[in-house]
């Protein structure tokens, strides 16, 4: 089994899907000849041909729109958007059409498509190149939103997303693309969607994160363990539909919860998790639910990036505050 990076795992899953299923098509800006800005599609056009791995002109709304048309005809489009900040023109197509096709036709048409995009900061570029727009999609009925946190998870979740019968927005943490290597078996096994993954068991507090924040949660848990605090770490993985049961189970055990979200604080996915904890888990809580998140501002240039992004130290400090309650 080879040790590979997250971006290589994405490439591996795409290759596997293209090889296994004739209906799978990959397209987007510079994905073919150039292999993608982050090289996620490297070599796919050479291997699978221009018919199935296509370069499009610069037209994000159209990329999403043709994916819907292809999906409605039974094909399995997997489209790439180069950076999360260029995904906004696709919102019209995804919100107004992709997410509604099944509902609008009472199940006669469906939309098994995937839009992949890098997500989040940590790569020293401001604004559009570092944003985390997942909440926009998670708010939309009919869309699935999936965020992997490691190479193995990226491989399994992407295969699952491609095989899923509904539209999936698949957001890949750009700063993890080459940050770590992990053994990934190219076994064609999908990882289940719509479930959280408990990555570390603990007794005193539950740390809930997704994407690049999972690593920060794990690092915080490690630091807290050294101080005798036992933290459970949950990788949400599928942000919508949300597996709140797993989070409630964990918090029933620990009594405390810190939700870690890289996106700006207000009206994020973390707010949904916190609301559900308040609705269904209040009596198990020993302390208030807290969110450690980005700030309600535009992603700054590299100099202030570290101040914007939640990190292990901020998470651990928040946990220590919660331990004061009980």
């Amino acid at each position: 089994m080879a040790e590979i990076t997250l971006v290589e795992a994405v490439n591996l899953a795409l290759a596997r899907a293209l090889a296994d299923d004739e209906r799978v098509l990959v397209f987007g800006e510079d994905v073919g000849h150039n292999g993608g800005v982050f090289r996620a599609t490297l070599g796919l056009q050479a291997r699978f041909g221009e018919r199935r791995v296509r370069d499009t002109p610069l037209n994000e709304a159209l990329i999403a729109g043709i994916a819907i048309g292809l999906a409605a005809q039974g094909l399995r489009p997997v489209a790439e958007i180069q950076f999360s900040g260029f995904i906004y023109p696709t919102v019209d197509q995804l919100v107004n059409h992709a997410g509604r096709l099944r509902n609008r036709t009472r199940g006669r048409l469906s939309c098994p498509m995937v839009i992949r995009a890098p997500n989040g900061g940590g790569i020293h570029a401001p604004e559009h190149h570092s944003e985390s727009p997942e909440a926009i999609f998670a708010h939309t009925p009919g869309l699935r939103v999936v965020v992997p946190s490691s190479p193995a998870r990226a491989y399994g979740l992407l295969l699952a997303a491609i095989r899923d019968p509904d539209p999936v927005v698949f957001l890949e943490p750009a700063r993890l693309y080459r940050a770590v290597k992990e053994e990934v078996a190219d076994d064609g096994e999908a990882a289940p969607l719509d479930v959280c993954y408990v990555l570390r068991e603990g007794r005193d507090v539950t740390l809930v994160g997704w994407g690049a924040m999972v690593r920060e949660c794990l690092a915080a848990a490690e630091a807290l363990a050294a101080q005798g605090v036992s933290a459970e770490v949950i990788d949400v993985a599928t942000l919508k539909p949300l597996d709140i049961a797993s989070i409630l189970d964990s918090v029933a055990k620990t009594g405390r919860c810190v939700i870690v979200q890289e996106a700006p604080l207000a009206v994020g996915v973390g707010a949904e998790i916190a609301a559900q904890l308040a609705e269904h888990g209040l009596l198990n809580l020993l302390a208030p639910v807290r969110r450690v998140a980005g700030y309600d501002t535009v992603m700054p240039l590299f100099r202030l990036e570290h101040a914007f992004l939640p990190d292990a130290a901020r998470i651990a400090a928040t946990v220590r505050e919660l331990l004061e309650y009980a």
């Binding site: 150039n34 002109p57 590299f302 101040a307």
Partner: protein, 326 residues
């Protein structure tokens, strides 16, 4: 213009092109030293377009630009030190260190932004022009964008409305034949972009973008027509970028031989030769020019080096109004 003034003007055009070239060379060096970070796009090879077009505008015209805009900003008259400080992310930069290389703004020169969204500037330019028309001002809103932008919906919406409402927009298409790794012919059904533009019923021409005098002459004519109320005008300026798309680009999409061919049409080398042949440039004059430019750039770098960082407390400022301006 008399002969003396004409000669001086031509030397000035050369000087401005050299200024951009040397500024870009310095920027590349600073990028490798990690003084400038994130994404950066150089203008080397395209200098005749910025100089020819923007010198032909009036001081109160507006300029809407792209992410490849250092040269545009310099020619427009934003001090080199304010541009350099911005690229460093210093508070003394023209966008107070928040925009970086891709978002250079300057209210004083009506430089309405670098823009990291391909095609994102066109609607803005149409809006600026509509405001001028409604308020009875004979100003031009000049909008620079690449060949890649022509595939985006915003391009088509903007040209249509500007032509329909006879708005004073000067559309300046910097056709360097590539959008990142995608060659023009692989992205456009009609690669003669001025023909595509003309179908919106506005004046449209193609210009040799490696010939600064041709660019200047065409822009003067077009700007005059726009200013006179004749509606929008479109110039396709054919040029070539000698540098990579950005600082991360292996340039797998084009032959070295093609780059070499275009380098033989280097707008600076050609114009310098022309001026020497006409007897309006000698070694001493050129050496003086280079020395002045070197001193200006050294001063800009020193200014950026000496600049200050935005305090962390200001991270969330300027998201909303902070009350009446002091």
């Amino acid at each position: 213009m008399n002969d003396v003034a004409h000669d001086e003007h031509r030397r000035q055009l050369l000087r401005e092109m050299l200024r951009i070239r040397r500024f870009e060379e310095k920027s590349a060096e600073l990028y490798t030293q990690e003084k400038i970070r994130g994404f950066m796009h150089l203008y080397v090879g395209e200098e005749a377009v910025a100089v020819g077009t923007l010198q032909a505008l009036d001081a109160d015209d507006a300029v809407v630009s792209t992410y490849r805009e250092h040269g545009h900003a310099l020619v427009r008259g934003i001090p080199a030190r304010a541009v350099m400080a911005e690229m460093y992310g210093r508070q003394e930069g023209c966008s107070r260190g928040r925009g970086g290389s891709m978002h250079i703004f300057d209210a004083a020169t009506r430089f309405c932004g670098g823009n990291a969204i391909v095609g994102g500037g066109l609607p803005l330019a149409v809006g600026l022009a509509l405001a001028d028309k409604l308020q009875g001002r004979a100003r031009v809103s000049a909008c620079l964008f690449g060949d890649g932008a022509v595939a985006e919906g915003e391009f088509h919406e903007s040209l249509n409305l500007a032509a329909l409402w006879k708005l004073p927009v000067l559309f300046l298409c910097e056709n360097n034949f590539y959008a990142m790794g995608t060659a023009l012919a692989r992205a456009q059904s009609q690669p003669d972009l001025h023909l595509k533009a003309a179908s919106y019923a506005l004046g449209a021409e193609v210009v040799d973008g490696m010939d600064v005098l041709a660019v200047e002459a065409a822009t003067r004519r077009a700007a005059q027509a726009v200013r006179g109320g004749g509606g929008p005008y479109f110039l396709e300026l054919r040029t070539y970028r000698f540098s990579a798309h950005s600082m991360f680009d292996a340039q797998l999409y084009r032959d070295k031989a093609e780059v070499e061919d275009w380098r033989r049409r280097d707008p600076i080398v050609l114009f310098e030769r022309q001026l020497r042949a006409a007897g309006v440039l000698d070694d001493a004059t050129l050496a003086r020019m280079e020395a002045e430019i070197a001193a200006e750039i050294a001063a800009a770098v020193a200014f950026a080096e000496a600049g200050s960082w935005e305090p962390v407390e200001d991270l969330t400022r300027f998201v909303y109004s902070e009350g009446p301006a002091p």
